[in-house]
């Protein structure tokens, strides 16, 4: 559809100008991201606590995770972050088609991440590396092996949930990009979605080494 058909953005009634609106929304997003970081951070602190408490469990659990799949997922997330940033950049150029292309790309990379996760989970289930009493993995000498996998499922599961939320935001941006005209002075939704996706990257950049490499 032609860019002229798109509606111009109106500053909300309680703001004085675009700048104030943009800054407020961005600061709001930042504070939300801050709380998300605290949540994941606490989870990671818990992980390090367990690593201190049961180093043997981590030492034996870690090799059961395939670092290649982890690395592949890292690649997917980083690329998704890159395309999200490009989407924002094109929004500033108000190039609707390029915006949509990049958003779709990011969506695909997010989807790829989830696919790989599913493969990993399937394998774990198949080998009985389940959390808690359901655990029946073979070849462990650490009595706490199940704790490692319990922690693995909780942390990666929660992260995967956030990947889903991030993809939801992308879809929302796609829908918006068909209605609203993104310009250099209004591209807030894509900017915010980009920040959120960067958060998802950030968390993974700590989870990946903690679970797949260190241990």
């Amino acid at each position: 559809m032609a860019a002229t058909a798109l509606q111009e953005h109106e500053v909300a009634h309680h703001f004085d100008d675009l700048e104030q609106e943009f800054d407020s929304h961005k600061l709001g997003m930042w504070l939300f991201v801050a709380s998300e970081i605290m949540m994941f951070g606490a989870l990671i602190v818990g992980g390090l606590f367990l690593l201190y408490l049961h180093p043997d469990a981590f030492a034996q659990g870690r090799p059961r995770l395939d670092w290649r799949l982890g690395a592949l997922n890292t690649f997917f997330l980083l690329t998704g972050g890159f395309t999200m940033a490009r989407a924002a950049a094109f929004a500033q150029k108000s190039d609707q088609r390029k915006i949509q292309q990049n958003l779709v790309l990011s969506l695909l990379f997010g989807f790829g991440f989830l696919v790989v996760k599913t493969i990993e989970y399937k394998a774990k289930f198949h080998h009985g590396l389940l959390p808690g009493p359901a655990f029946h993995g073979e070849g462990f000498t650490s009595l706490h092996a199940h704790v490692f996998f319990g922690y693995y499922f909780v942390s990666t599961g929660l992260h995967a949930l956030h990947v889903l939320i991030g993809m939801g935001l992308m879809v929302w941006c796609l829908i918006l990009s068909r209605k609203v005209k993104f310009t250099r002075s209004y591209y807030t939704p894509i900017e915010l979605a980009g920040i959120y996706w960067a958060l998802v990257d950030l968390v993974w950049l700590f989870l990946f080494p903690l679970l797949y490499l260190v241990g």
Binding site: H14, G28, F40, A42, G46, G132, H146, G150, V154
Partner: protein, 536 residues
């Protein structure tokens, strides 16, 4: 979203009519009123639970009507409702929501939709709490200590979920406040022209944003432990219950300050307004709020002095805990000094304000004694602790909440309540509260443990005084509430500035305020307590 054209000359209550217009509103004032009603309803509920188990404690031994399980259920419901549904959201969401944007001279909070979301999350939490009530006996205590809380009691599961949602409601409110204070201040509203209530809410918001997520993850892990026993908290699976306490208190100690710091803000406003005097040491009071916030993140371990935490950690936490005493002391001293050479009028809000000084002095002093390591070992988990945190959470926060309701009532509703009955109620509340909780200090010092359905006969006298006190307290609260409600029907119309205060909501906004708070954006030229400008 185009600003729907409203007449900005009629007040916010009348701008739109119909119940629906309230449920979809983005106006911070309407959202605040809905918060206020919900919080008061839950406050009454929690109070009824307290009454019930205080009556049970009239005599030791078993009771035909209230079994031990019922008792455990009652004190759990009292705790969860009062903490997560009343005192934590109470002042920020149900007073600050209304007052903060007006005090900084904004048309609305920065993120009105987020504000409405916060209200709906609060309602979801409340409904889940009620569901848990139907689901059975939630008996884990509000602290949800593992492994007792992971015994798959359905009511506890619902309660955990409820607290989870309430946490997010709290986060969103705090987020909104910080953005508003940073980005929405009126021209001329510099940082040091902000009223101390705004400073307090700002400090609170920091804690809401940085501490509450840890509660969320704690509750999440508890729920997961309930179903999968992954062995992070569950000792039967090789987990560590003390780690759960670390997680819980890393939120719940800042939560104590989330509860009490806004109360400090209200106290500052009221003390200044009713002694017609610039607050003494404005900057000290302002920064002490921030100071309490930052220290508040370093001292959670003092809840765990006997919980099997290592002696080294105990010592460190005890050391840091003593520093929280300093900002609190600074506040009390500054309030006292503000009274000096003032023109003090003992109207209802001020009577409550002075009670806060009295109660918080006791609450603070009893707090310091609990951070003395060797003494805490004796006093830990006794009625002394119960009394201490009620002196803070009720004697300071709830009283400040009531004081704030009385103080801003004319602004919120446009009606004046009956002053005489207001004062009577406040005096009754004062005596009721202290009769209820002072005996518990003595009982605790003699070693009477908390959360006890049955107790040694020698404690009966204190329990009975306490129960008498709680009835008096309830009476006072009922009088206050009825007085306010009556004023809605037959109260006199409130003038714009009944107390002669100098903050924006009194100087620049009508009572009740118009839809966008001000006819035109105010230009701020003086500080919040410019009583020096007054001439007779």
């Amino acid at each position: 979203m185009i600003a729907h054209v409203h007449d900005n000359n009629i007040n916010y209550i009348k701008t739109k009519t119909g119940l629906l217009s309230w449920f979809v509103t983005k106006d911070h004032k309407r959202i605040n009123m809905m918060f206020l009603i919900s919080v008061l309803i839950f406050f009454i509920t929690g109070g009824i639970y307290a009454l019930l188990f205080r009556l049970e404690l009239w005599t030791p031994g078993t009771h035909p009507l209230i079994t031990p399980d019922t008792y455990n259920h009652y004190f759990t419901m009292h705790g969860v409702i009062m903490v997560f549904l009343v005192v934590v959201p109470g002042i920020p969401s149900a007073l600050g929501n209304f007052v903060l944007p007006i005090q900084v001279g904004a048309k609305d909070l920065a993120l009105p939709k987020i504000n409405l979301t916060s209200l709906y999350l609060y309602w979801i939490g409340g409904i889940l709490a009620i569901v848990s009530l139907i689901a059975g006996n939630a008996d884990s205590g509000w602290t949800f200590y593992a492994p007792y809380s992971i015994s798959k009691n359905p009511a506890v599961l619902w309660m955990l979920t409820a607290a989870f949602f309430l946490g997010f409601s709290s986060i969103l409110t705090g987020l909104n406040f910080i953005v508003t204070v940073h980005k929405m201040r009126a021209p001329g509203m510099t940082w040091f022209r902000l009223p101390l209530f705004v400073w307090a809410l700002y400090a609170t918001a920091i804690m809401q944003i940085f501490a509450t997520p840890v509660l969320a993850i704690t509750l999440l892990l508890l729920l997961i432990e309930n179903f999968f026993h992954i062995g992070i908290f569950d000792p039967a699976m090789g987990g560590d219950p003390v780690l759960m306490q670390h997680f819980f208190w890393f939120y719940s100690h800042p939560a104590v300050y989330i509860i009490v710091v806004p109360a400090f803000g209200i106290t500052s406003e009221i003390i200044a307004a009713f002694s017609k005097k610039e607050i003494f040491g404005y900057k000290f009071v302002a920064f002490s709020s921030i100071g309490i916030t930052l220290i508040g993140f370093l001292v959670w371990g003092h809840h765990m002095f006997v919980s099997g935490q290592s002696e080294v950690a105990n010592t460190v936490f005890s050391f840091l805990t003593f520093f929280t005493a300093i900002p609190s002391a600074i506040k009390v001293f500054n309030w006292t000094a503000t009274l000096y050479k003032g023109s003090i009028s003992l109207q209802t809000p001020m009577l409550y304000g002075l009670q806060i000084l009295f109660n918080f002095t006791i609450g603070g002093l009893t707090g310091i004694i609990l951070s003395i390591l060797s003494l805490d070992v004796h006093l830990h988990d006794t009625y002394f602790v119960v009394s201490h945190f009620h002196y803070v959470a009720f004697g300071t926060t709830i009283i400040a909440f009531i004081a704030g309701i009385h103080y801003w009532w004319p602004k919120m509703t446009g009606k004046m309540y009956n002053e005489v009955w207001g004062r009577i109620a406040s005096v009754i509340v004062f005596f009721g509260f202290n009769i209820t909780f002072f005996p518990q200090l003595i009982m605790g010092s003699q070693g009477s443990p908390r959360r006890y359905y049955h107790y040694l006969p020698q404690y009966q006298i204190y329990h009975q005084i306490s129960t008498v006190g709680v009835v008096i307290l309830a009476l006072g609260l009922v009088i206050a509430l009825v007085n306010l409600l009556i004023s809605l029907r037959m109260g006199a119309t409130a003038p714009q500035n009944p107390w002669g205060a100098h903050t924006l909501e009194w100087e620049a906004a009508e009572s009740p305020p118009v839809l966008f708070n001000f006819k035109e954006t105010p230009i701020v030229t003086h500080g919040p307590y410019a009583f020096a400008t007054e001439k007779t």
